[in-house]
Amino acid sequence: MDSFQTVMRLALRDYLHERLLSACAIMGLAAVLAPLLVLFGVKSGIINTMSDRLIQDPRNREISPVGSGRYGADWFSAMRDRPDVAFIIPQTRSIAASMILYNKNSANPRTLVVSLIPTAEADPLLEQYGRISTKNTQVVLSEPAARKLNVKAGQGIIGQVGRSVAGVREQVAVDLQITAVLPLGAFSREAAFVRLELLEATEDYRDGRGSKIFGWPGSARPAGSRVYPSFRLYARSIYDVADLRNMLMDQGLEVYTKAEDIETVKSLDRSFNLIFSLIAVVAVLGYFASMVSNVLANVNRKSRYLGISSLIGFSTGNIIWYPMLQSIATSVLGFLTAVILYRLVAALINGLFSDYLSAGEYVCWLSVGHMMIALVLTLALAILASTYGAFRVSRIEPSEVIREV
């Protein structure tokens, strides 16, 4: 143990004594690792965010039925239980799924007929913008609808539904609250996203029935569960769309998906991953090569001291730790230097693009987990590189090196 400690002491004193060379080795390593960290920071920051957005884009994950069918409660609950289904909600008859919206607060009152689209919590189209209706009288308007009605989120608006019973025109109204307006990119038609209860009441009213929820007059609904002609369906990811589509087609349904867009996004995602994997492999190999050259240069430069240590009587098993300790120290210090450099560059990049980022978004970002992986990889490579160095040390013949000039 004394012997081992003495060798460790020698290695450290040597390392400190030639601090300029040690610093060079540390900087050399940091120079390889720092750009690598920035690259992966950008990869896990903006690139992942962007490709996640593409992969998660609800417009690509949507599966729409063509024509109308008959879907009961059992079918919806079976679909809801599938792990590849992110969201499914029944849709009423499209002919009945409309409403007149009336903005009387404006200087010149406006009316507009909008489509009603059913929504609920976890609706991917709305969730992306963090806007969900929770009450039966809340609506989310599409941008064209809001513009034509000249309303903003937070305002009240009146919804009107009409029918003619035995030649007599009747109409009911409901006070609605606009919780949000979707951006134009999310939905381009004039529509209001409402809860299914309002849609069902609208359909019932047009059929001559009343609604207890909204207090609309009419006959009672006959018993039996409701059958819907259509639905809104979103797959969990674009990678689940094809399977879901096949499953539905096996049931005899005709559905529409954005297969071409999905293929583009998939190949983009695959290309990005491939490119980054290749860069990572090359970079790690380069990192390893720089470590091996560090270790070998160290062993060769130190061969005389290592030989003298052996001559003095330190065992080979102890002496191999002399260059090992030094390369491990270089690796750890090089890693820390690289992390500091990375932090500076990341702060700079994120600062430059701060205008384009929302809170919690970064262009360049690595988690603590990523850093730990980098550290473990660094140490593993250092030990691997040192193992070859140790082998070279074990081959040193003291009698060949102690008389070197």
Binding site: M1, D2, S3, Q5, T6, V7, R9, L10, R13, D14, L16, H17, E18, Y305, I308, S310, L311, I312, G313, F314, S315, T316, G317, E397, P398, S399, I402, R403
Partner: protein
């Protein structure tokens, strides 16, 4: 030379001025016993060293005398157990009374750690130049073997530094010293852990004659006082007898047809 000149002062010097437990006992016992030991390097300019018989006793001062390239360093490295002999009828280091290390056997069985351990405990080595760690202070250089053995550094280091007149340099780095001072440090390092054998490879060859003379006097006085066996390669054969050295010489023969060299040890 066959007749071993023995230093009478070395006789009976059994207790060294140290608090360490003695690792060897009375002089007169053998330290090294070699018979039919050979080491050769093959090739056109090959070299073969043969040691028919060499017995070195505790406390003895042995001078290996011969030209450069006659095999002095080879023999020193064999004795220091850093060079593996090709063959050996007998190659034994006597470590304590009644205890011995079969060096050839250890090499053959690749018990390199026990050879290293024996080097650290029993051998001190002085190289022709330096061999000091440039990043350690003189004090740490001298104490390196003591530290490796877990011995206290206490006054032993300062004591030996005083004896070699380098006590004022203890906290300097070797690079700040003259060549002569460095050799004194090397001698101090080889002796600070009180080995039973000190091996020196032309320790004064790179010094001016006056310095060489003074250092050689200090060195031999110290080995005499400590009762240490001194095995020294030298081509300065002038005062060997005066200083009580036994001469071991090298016979030298060039093979006319092969261009290789055969050397044989007499002594």
């Amino acid at each position: 030379m066959k007749d071993a000149a023995r230093d009478p002062l070395a006789q009976g010097k059994v207790v060294r001025p140290s608090r360490d437990k003695p690792r060897f006992t009375a002089s007169g016992d053998d330290v090294f016993r070699l018979q039919e030991v050979t080491k050769s390097w093959p090739g056109e300019h090959g070299f073969t060293l043969t040691v028919p018989k060499l017995i070195i006793q505790q406390g003895e001062k042995v001078a290996l005398v011969g030209f450069s390239g006659c095999g002095k360093s080879t023999l020193l490295d064999l004795l220091a157990m850093v060079l593996r002999p090709d063959e050996a009828g007998e190659f034994v280091l006597f470590t304590q009374k009644g205890e011995e290390l079969n060096v050839m056997d250890a090499w053959q069985r690749k018990k390199l750690d026990s050879l290293a351990q024996a080097r650290m405990l029993h051998i001190g080595y002085v190289l022709q130049t330096g061999g000091l760690f440039p990043f350690l202070s003189v004090r740490e250089n001298i104490g390196i073997s003591r530290r490796g053995l877990g011995l206290p550094l206490d006054e032993t280091v300062e004591d030996i530094a005083q004896r070699l007149h380098i006590e004022r340099h203890l906290d300097k780095l070797p690079g700040q010293l003259s060549v002569g001072e460095r050799q004194r440090v090397a001698i101090a390092r080889a002796m600070a852990h009180h080995p039973s054998v000190v091996i020196a490879d032309e320790p004064t060859a790179s010094l001016d004659p006056i310095n060489a003379e003074e250092i050689m006097n200090l060195f031999t006085a110290l080995t005499d006082e400590y009762g240490v066996t001194l095995i020294m390669a030298t081509h300065d054969w002038g005062k060997l007898g005066e200083r009580g050295f036994r001469r071991v010489e090298f016979g030298f023969k060039r093979e006319p047809d092969q261009g290789s060299v055969r050397a044989k040890v007499f002594g």
